[in-house]
């Protein structure tokens, strides 16, 4: 736990990357952690092949969920959405170098990813009917 608040986590928590709305987003996803009140929205632009072209996000959360969202958002562009959907929680924690996080904080670290894979809750912003039917 002692390195949970290490510098680069804190730095991302205080200066989250890719913050805000994305005007030409094709999808908006939401995730919330009801027990602590954290919630976030992810704006994605995804092309026909399922490749993520752009991402922004915004929300309320603790340092861990904010930093994890910021860090993951930096890894999205150029990768396929399917890849993220099919990853396990453990894979994601490994990506974040947070494998040893306590069980009570895992939910925080995984909130952004939870949003990414909440396929059925996707709101389609501009068309992309094909995806909507899935």
């Amino acid at each position: 736990m002692d390195d949970l608040y290490r510098e680069h986590i804190l730095e991302h928590a205080q200066h989250p990357r890719n913050w805000g709305e994305l005007p030409d987003a094709t999808f908006v996803m939401r995730a919330a952690n009801a027990s602590c009140g954290d919630s976030l929205e992810i704006f994605l632009k995804i092309d026909e092949a399922g490749i993520i072209k752009a991402v922004t996000w915004q929300g309320d959360g603790c340092a861990v969920s904010t930093a994890a969202a910021s860090l993951l958002s930096e890894k999205l562009v150029g990768s396929s959405i399917q890849k993220w959907e099919s990853m396990s929680a453990e894979d994601v924690l490994r990506e974040l170098e947070l494998l040893h996080i306590s069980p009570s904080r895992q939910k925080c670290a995984l909130l952004f990813w939870q949003g990414l894979r909440s396929g059925e809750d996707w709101a389609v912003v501009q068309g992309s009917a094909e995806r909507e039917q899935q």
Partner: protein, 416 residues
């Protein structure tokens, strides 16, 4: 027993957390257990364990005797007789049970009232039964976030007194420490002459360890409690009902123990109240443990305990007020004990409650962060999450000093 002697009675308080002495300030979630409670439970299993009522052998007799003694003690603590006590796993189950038993009296258009600061264990069961029965479910917002909304309640009565059937509320809020004005609620109902049409149900989960919570003193029909929040074991709680209510309700759990006669097509129930409402094997060991917890409380005595805990709440409030980033919520503790009971809760500017709690844990200080199962209140007040320090009789001013010292770490780490 003097208040300061209680610390040595609770073994877990000797634990080290991250190399520091544990400062346990999460007592509203669950209190720690005195040695006497732990011993009572293990003694029961070591020497007296047998199923109750169902055997003629010695152990069964011993177990039954302990079971009945414990029930009497617990009921008396809540100002009732054993035949007014239905044991449950916890306060949540007790409230759900009350709702299920009361459902048959509810009609479409009836009014059920709770407040915004109710714990989900009160709010949700009444909300769900309102949906099932077509009742109007009213959640009163808090008076300027601090006090129980007695004025709004009075106004509501003017309009809806004829349809009002249920008022359910916490005797003490687990977030703001607000004490419900039970006498005033009762007086309002009497003023309009509707008291007898209304079920007044009180969630005593957060009052039981901090102030007398008694059916023979409170003008209410039922109360619920959790043993684990009053120095007893987890897994035991109860619903205590008035004599009037005991006459009106019927069991909703069926099985062994609670029956008189069973035939293939019909069953009659046990005449005895306690039996009728105890389907299946009760948790005797936990009841015995809870009896020991009540004896622990009685050895201290309410006046010493209340004075000490009020001092802790006041001291914590004052100390936290000195921290510039802290915004305290709920009423300021006044001179009166009942002005705020059991806990202090705050938000920390610029830092999420989870991060505050995690950093405090590094210093061995255990507090709770989040919604505290009061999401409507947090949403209404626009708090993302809050941090709460809640007290028990074994806490000291030094514990609060540790809390304040640990809070400085938050500033160091987050630089706010």
């Amino acid at each position: 027993m003097k208040v300061h002697e209680t610390q040595t009675q609770v073994p877990i308080l000797q634990r080290q957390i991250h190399g520091k002495k544990l400062v346990y300030l999460d007592n509203a979630a669950t209190t720690q257990k005195p040695e006497s409670v732990i011993t009572a439970i293990s003694d029961y299993y070591r020497t007296h364990n047998a199923n109750v009522h169902r055997g003629v052998h010695t152990l069964s007799d011993e177990s039954t005797e302990r079971y009945e003694q414990a029930r009497q003690k617990i009921a008396a603590f809540f100002g009732a007789r054993a035949d007014q006590l239905i044991s449950t796993r916890n306060s949540t189950e007790a409230m759900n049970l009350l709702v299920q038993m009361w459902e048959k009296f509810l009609r479409p258009g009836d009014v059920i009232v709770v407040t915004m600061q109710e714990h989900h264990s009160t709010l949700v069961p009444w909300q769900m039964v309102s949906q099932r029965t077509g009742c109007e479910f009213i959640v009163l917002p808090m008076d300027d976030q601090s006090t129980w909304p007695i004025n709004a309640f009075a106004e509501l009565l003017q309009e809806k007194k004829d349809r009002l059937r249920v008022v359910a509320t916490a005797a003490v809020s687990n977030v703001t420490g607000v004490v419900a004005p039970l006498e005033k609620i009762d007086a309002q109902l009497r003023k309009w002459g509707v008291r007898k049409n209304v079920l007044v149900a009180v969630d005593a989960a957060q009052s039981a360890a901090h102030m007398p919570s008694r059916l023979d003193r409170w003008p209410v029909d039922a109360l619920t409690f959790s043993g684990h929040k009053m120095y007893g074991p987890m897994g035991i709680g109860g619903l205590v009902v008035s004599e009037r209510l005991a006459q009106e309700i019927a069991p909703v759990l069926y099985g062994g123990g609670m029956i008189a006669e069973v035939r293939t097509q019909e069953t009659s129930f046990h005449e005895d109240f306690a039996e009728r409402f105890t389907a299946g094997t009760p948790d005797v060991a936990s009841l015995v443990g809870l009896q020991a917890a009540i004896e622990f409380l009685e050895e201290i005595g309410w006046s010493e305990l209340q004075a000490h805990e009020h001092d802790l709440v006041q001291y914590a409030y004052e100390q936290l007020q000195q921290v510039p980033q802290v915004r305290l919520i709920g009423p300021e503790p006044g001179a009166e004990f009942a002005s705020r009971v059991g806990s202090v809760t705050w938000t920390y500017e610029g830092v999420h409650a989870h991060d505050v709690a995690q950093i405090l844990d590094r210093s061995g200080v255990a507090v709770r962060s989040g919604h505290h199962c009061t999401m409507p209140l947090h949403t209404e007040q626009d708090w993302v999450a809050t941090t709460r320090a809640s007290f028990a009789v074994y806490n000291t001013r030094e514990d609060i000093d540790q809390l304040i010292a640990a809070l400085e770490q938050v500033q160091t780490i987050f630089g706010v």
